[in-house]
């Protein structure tokens, strides 16, 4: 049985304004997003590129309560909601943070700095997250050694996130298929590929190489920046189309 390919749509919570944000989630859901990844602004989004960093800056100046935004999102979509933020900023009040987003309707978290900056005790964090009834989407990249991937992939749910480039939204040259082939040898999780995927060709390449889904984020933010909501939704349509055609 060939599984349907996942479309994971990232959007920064409340971006570019509450109205457009909620419309985007609703329509993106309708257009075939399988899972939402919501950016919860950290102090410094160090592993993100300038587009997403700009979006964080913007929303930080607009809202006080991001959990509130999660609750509102929860109301308009039944798709899984994964909250993306940096462990660095929440480690001191982790349980509280996890409790809040859980009660706001989030299904899981994605912490891009988990493996990199907490190499000694990421297992402890994984436990604490699952104790709160939340999934963890584990973020791996070409910078994560084989051994670590083998150790952690089982704990990633509902998929394993593979960032193929050093940062989001910056198109550096990569050989997506060779990167993915290596990863698929190490895991039987569903793998969603993200970080600067650009153009139909790259998405097709990822799918051909065995990606189970695609994460899109910077491309939405860029579309919003340039031509607003409808343009961002166009991106959703086009990507879904490729996924379905595959």
């Amino acid at each position: 049985m060939i599984m349907k390919k996942l479309l994971v749509s990232y959007i920064t919570l409340g971006y570019p304004n509450e109205n457009d944000y909620l419309k985007f989630v609703k329509d993106a859901d309708d257009l075939g997003t399988d899972i939402f990844e919501l950016g919860y602004p950290p102090n410094f989004a160090k592993y993100d590129g300038p587009l997403i960093r700009r979006s964080y800056l913007k929303v930080k100046s607009m809202y006080k309560n991001f959990s509130e935004l999660i609750s509102r999102t929860r109301k308009i979509t039944r798709k899984k909601i994964i909250v993306l933020t940096y462990l660095e900023n929440i480690q001191n009040n982790l349980d509280e943070f996890l409790g809040t987003i859980k009660s706001s309707g989030a299904d899981g978290v994605l912490l891009p700095d988990l493996l990199i900056d907490f190499p000694e005790n990421y297992f402890k964090y994984l436990n604490r997250i699952s104790e709160k009834g939340l999934d963890t989407v584990i973020f791996v990249s070409p910078f994560v050694p084989d051994k670590i991937i083998s150790d952690v992939y089982k704990f990633s749910s509902p998929f394993l996130y593979y960032g193929v480039r050093p940062t989001t939204g910056i198109v550096t040259p990569v050989n997506i298929s060779s990167l993915l082939k290596r990863l698929k040898n190490l895991t039987d999780s569903r793998v969603v590929v993200g970080f600067g995927l650009k153009g139909l060709e790259e998405i097709k390449e990822a799918l051909s190489a065995g990606a189970d889904g695609i994460a899109i984020g910077s491309a939405y933010v860029e579309a919003f920046e340039n031509n607003g909501l409808s343009s961002a939704l166009d991106v959703v349509k086009r990507v879904r189309c490729i996924l379905d055609d595959f």
Binding site: K46, S141, P142, P145, D146, K147, I148, V174
Partner: protein, 417 residues
């Protein structure tokens, strides 16, 4: 002989014990330095910089050029040094000075110039301090039949006419830096017309020059892609050790940015050969004893992405020791990580100790080492002496990263001291 040259480079990243912190932009940045890399570094080089492949195929033409340039380099036994030290240890060394550019730098200059030419670049640009790297780039460009421009730190340009002559002979344009060629250089000269220059200034000029003219920049150390290319050293050495039926236990290299050490030691670490790996710096520089592990810029101008590494700070002004190649403030991220995790040990030796080691080695083995490489020799001697005390038949191997034939003023100066 060409059969001894490996067909793949080795990338240690998939074999690390923990994830490598990725390159970063600083928090207050208004542009992406990672994006900027796209405009200054050849595409394939950048791809290799961020690859997760354990083995990266070496293009056939690069293998041919490696062969032309003197690869495989010999693995030699320093038997007479052992005798002089009266040690039960065996000491081997891999002799990178046997390449035509005189150091390991050619191992990465060739593929970088190759990938630049493959994408149609007409000129490659870099900076050089002591001149080893500039020589390697000039030669590689000549081999690729493309042009090269080298910004050479002014004080070296004036004091080391030999290196300049070699680069020019290979057809390179060589400018003393700061120069009038770039805005950055002009500004520096406006501030101080007698500016002796620095690697930081020269690097900034090179990058500016590349961006303005759509040339490509070649990088001499620190980045993982450079370490990847340098792995040819260790891969060859592993085959050579197999050939003679020995297995080294202690592997040693000197470190500037870390590329020759890593190129030599990583394949052994990856193959689980050896039990001690020792990176050697200078006690005048104190990279290890004073450096901190944090995100910092690899270049003084801060045009490149920040890397998490052991660093003395990008604005660190090194003391005027002769080993130009060790005066660099940072250390390759994978190497920094493994030093941090104590998988790799470190040592530091003074210029004086190093000079004695160099002289001892030259008299025992006939090779005049580059002053940088003499730091590795110092460590090998130290380990061999320890082996003597403990009466252990240790097998020691170090990387002799370059010859010192263009560093004779160092020997002259140290002899006079």
């Amino acid at each position: 002989m060409i059969d001894l040259i490996p067909r793949y480079w080795y990338n240690i990243v998939p074999d690390l014990n923990r994830p490598l912190p990725p390159p970063l932009d600083p928090e207050d940045s208004d542009f992406s330095r990672i994006e900027l890399l796209n405009r200054i570094i050849p595409k394939e080089v950048l791809r290799q910089q961020f690859t997760a492949e354990r083995y990266v195929k070496i293009p056939d033409e690069v293998i041919e050029l490696y062969s032309l340039a003197g690869r495989p380099t010999p693995l030699m036994r320093a038997k007479r040094l052992e005798e002089l030290l009266d040690t039960p240890a065996k000491i081997y060394f891999k002799y990178e000075g046997a390449t035509h550019s005189g150091s390991h730098k050619i191992n990465t200059a060739i593929p970088q110039a190759y990938f630049a030419r493959e994408e149609g670049v007409e000129r490659v640009v870099t900076e050089t301090g002591a001149g080893q790297w500039g020589t390697a780039v000039a030669l590689s460009a000549a081999l690729m039949k493309i042009k090269s421009t080298i910004f050479m730190v002014r004080v070296s340009y004036e004091q080391k006419p030999g290196r300049k002559t070699v680069m020019k002979l290979y057809g390179a344009e060589v400018y003393p830096s700061p120069s009038e060629i770039t805005e950055y250089g002009k500004n520096e000269l406006a501030k101080n017309s007698a500016n002796p220059g620095s690697l930081g200034i020269a690097m900034s000029e090179a990058i500016e020059y590349v961006i303005k003219n759509d040339y490509r920049y070649l990088i001499g150390s620190v980045l993982e892609v450079v370490l990847l290319h340098q792995s040819i050293i260790g891969l060859e050495a592993i085959k050579q050790f197999e050939f003679i039926g020995e297995e080294p236990e202690v592997l040693i290299g000197c470190v500037g940015g870390g590329s020759n050490f890593a190129g030599f030691a990583y394949p052994f670490i990856g193959s689980k050969i050896g039990s001690r790996y020792i990176a050697v710096s200078s006690s005048e520089i104190k990279k290890f004893s004073k450096g901190v592990y944090e995100y910092d810029f690899p270049d003084s101008a801060g045009l490149l992405p920040m890397l998490k590494m052991i660093t003395l700070g990008k604005d660190y002004v090194p003391p005027p020791i002769y080993s130009g190649g060790l005066r660099y403030h940072g250390l390759a991220p994978t190497l920094s990580l493994m030093i941090k995790d104590k998988i790799i040990e470190w040592m530091e030796f003074s210029e004086k100790e190093t000079y004695s080691a160099a002289k001892l080695f030259a008299n025992a083995q006939g090779i005049i080492p580059a002053p940088e490489s003499a730091h590795a020799i110092s460590a090998a001697i130290k380990i061999a002496k320890e082996a003597k005390e403990k009466n252990e038949k240790k097998i020691i191997a170090f990387n002799l990263s370059g010859h010192g034939l263009l560093d004779l003023s160092y020997y002259q100066k140290m002899e006079a001291k």
